[in-house]
């Protein structure tokens, strides 16, 4: 598969943007400057990046509570995201949503979602709209391993399958549902095997390989655009951080964490880019500096932004 240098660099930038954004959130949260809670996507960047690289602006995604990466990959601006996480008026949701509900319908982002599996039926519904509008749009539904044990998973995937809806279900299997190992709650090893129940294609892949994700999602998206229906895809990955920031993670073995950190998707992609002479080390370093600056500016934008007026609580209930 031939991918342009521009596209490859875009993907590299996106992965780094997610990583640096999340690292910053971690620090800011630990410093007590972010209200509520945040669930970080560190270690899983290749999935959102590879998948959204296959989409157009008018395609849709639904996200999860670990949703910053999905929003960034679909084109979300880090300054407005950070402002939302800080509860500011300039945030994507004017401070009404926070980390778990960042959304931008203009970018096709139908929201991160605070309920495990909450986006699955919504994604199928967006798929109905895409099918009826006949403009070739598709929906990518990001979901965690834990949500495959929700009733919503069965109802949403089944609906997409019977109507051949243009929806791609991307399971991010990071091995832990909150603090419980997926192997303690699920008897199958490859979660994509559940495709058999719905008579749709399913595939389990290395979710830390951005090019593999891009290639696999690309095929499934093309299939969906042709009206051939949904695909169930499992991306195997690892959640570096806790379920939420501050989670002490006593349930993880150190060796396990270290082994997965060796499989970090970002240096791996960078090595691919440099060894194939697509990008020089100096250029890759420059990208990193550029992204780091962007994230610093995003925090500055958030901190410089006003809070909403308290009375705004009562706005935006009805159109």
């Amino acid at each position: 598969m031939e991918i342009s240098k521009e596209k490859l660099l875009d993907m590299y930038r996106t992965m780094l943007r997610i990583r640096r954004f999340e690292e910053k959130c971690s620090k800011e949260f630990a410093a007590g400057r972010i209200p509520g809670t945040v669930h970080l996507y560190i270690g899983e960047e290749a999935i959102a990046t590879g998948a959204c690289a296959c989409l157009n602006t008018d395609d849709y995604i639904t996200g999860t509570h670990r949703g910053h990466g999905h929003v960034i990959a679909k084109g979300g601006h880090t300054d407005r995201m950070m402002a939302e996480i800080y509860g500011r008026k300039t945030g994507y949701c004017k401070g009404k949503g926070g980390s778990m509900h960042i959304a931008d319908p203009d970018l096709g982002i139908l929201g991160a979602n605070g309920v495990v599996g909450g986006g699955i039926c919504v994604a199928s519904g967006a798929g109905i709209a895409c099918q009826m509008k006949e403009k070739g749009q598709v929906v990518v539904c990001f979901l965690g391993d834990g949500s495959t044990n929700e009733g919503a998973f069965h109802e949403g995937v089944n609906l997409a399958s019977i109507w051949n809806l243009p929806v791609l279900f991307v399971i991010e299997n990071n091995l832990y549902a909150e603090k419980t190992r997926i192997t303690d709650t699920t008897k199958i090893i490859d979660l994509a095997d559940r495709c058999k129940s719905y008579g749709i294609p399913g595939v389990s892949i290395d979710g830390n390989d951005v090019l593999k994700v891009y290639e696999t999602v690309g095929g499934a998206v093309a299939r969906a655009r042709e009206g051939k229906g949904p695909t169930l895809m499992e991306c195997k990955t690892y959640r570096w951080r806790g379920h939420f920031e501050g989670d002490q993670q006593g349930y993880k073995a150190k060796e396990e964490v270290q082994a997965w950190m060796q499989k970090d998707p970002i240096p791996r992609f960078r090595a691919h880019l440099t060894s194939n002479r697509i990008v020089a080390d100096a250029e890759a370093d420059a990208i990193d500096r550029e992204i780091t600056d962007e994230i610093e500016n995003a925090v500055k934008f958030a901190l410089d932004s006003p809070f909403p007026a308290p009375e705004e609580t009562e706005e935006d209930v009805f159109a």
Binding site: C121, A126, A152
Partner: protein, 323 residues
Amino acid sequence: MKELMFSQAENAAFDEEMARDPSVFILGEDIGLYWGGPFGQFRGLIEKYGPRRVRETPISEKAILGGGIGAAAAGMRPCSAMMFVDFLGCAFDEMVNQLQMRYMFGGKIKLPLTILAGIGAGRSTAAQHSKSMLGLLMGVKGLKIVVPSTPYDAKGLLKTSIRDDNPVLFLSHKMLTPIKNKIPDEEYLIPLGKADVKREGKDVTVVATAWMVHVALAAAAKLESEGISVEVVDPRTLVPLDKQTILDSVKKTSRLVVISEEPKTGSSAGQIAAMVAEEGFDYLDAPIRVIGCPDTPVPFSPVLEKYYVPDEARLIKTIKEIV
């Protein structure tokens, strides 16, 4: 002008709105060729508009409601047919966590979704097919609630609900099925948030919804012969609630009974009574009375169910206690 039953009036509203706007579609179980909905309200639509716009689903309430939410978010104007309101229990996440997208997203999205469900006891369908849950549903934020009591109102309100850019829960009481009204041939719409005074009176205001409107009208007819003049106010929509029409009526009569078919604790009647106590206390010459069902699930046996549902006799007795 033609005479239509309740479900025929709803059917006419669906037909007109689907003909008018290609983004309107219905999804739900058994709404197509073989049944057309439990009251025939969808009959003939699949033949006319095809299976892409009258989408027969599996028995998957989360997918019916969540699918409606997603389709609305992506620019369609869906109607999610839940069959009976009790089954919303299977889609409670969609109801209380997903439907609130507009607010959570800071007002950046419209959800033009109509949720259709039957309500009410009276047919011995017991605890899982007979609830009304009006007060409970008033607690769901970002949701308008329509509770028509006549075929005429049902048609005009359903058309408005479908055209509304917000989630609207449209509740059809099963005991209203055989009621007929003359329906004009020309199109009409009824705004949400506008109560209707179903009978004018001067001694006491009875606020009633859905089937209870007919119980109130029957009680009012009987009391007239005893010299008590009853005004019956039908809010028609619980959210938004037309407070002004209710308060104006209480100002005129100085007495209020609120009756609704649901357990009294947490009921819509309790909400309306509290509103009048807060905003219309000075108009009152007697304590507000609230009539509801016992605080139990809905029973099965006709004998028990008759005891459960508020009736004319209870309403008459209550009115006489305060007039």
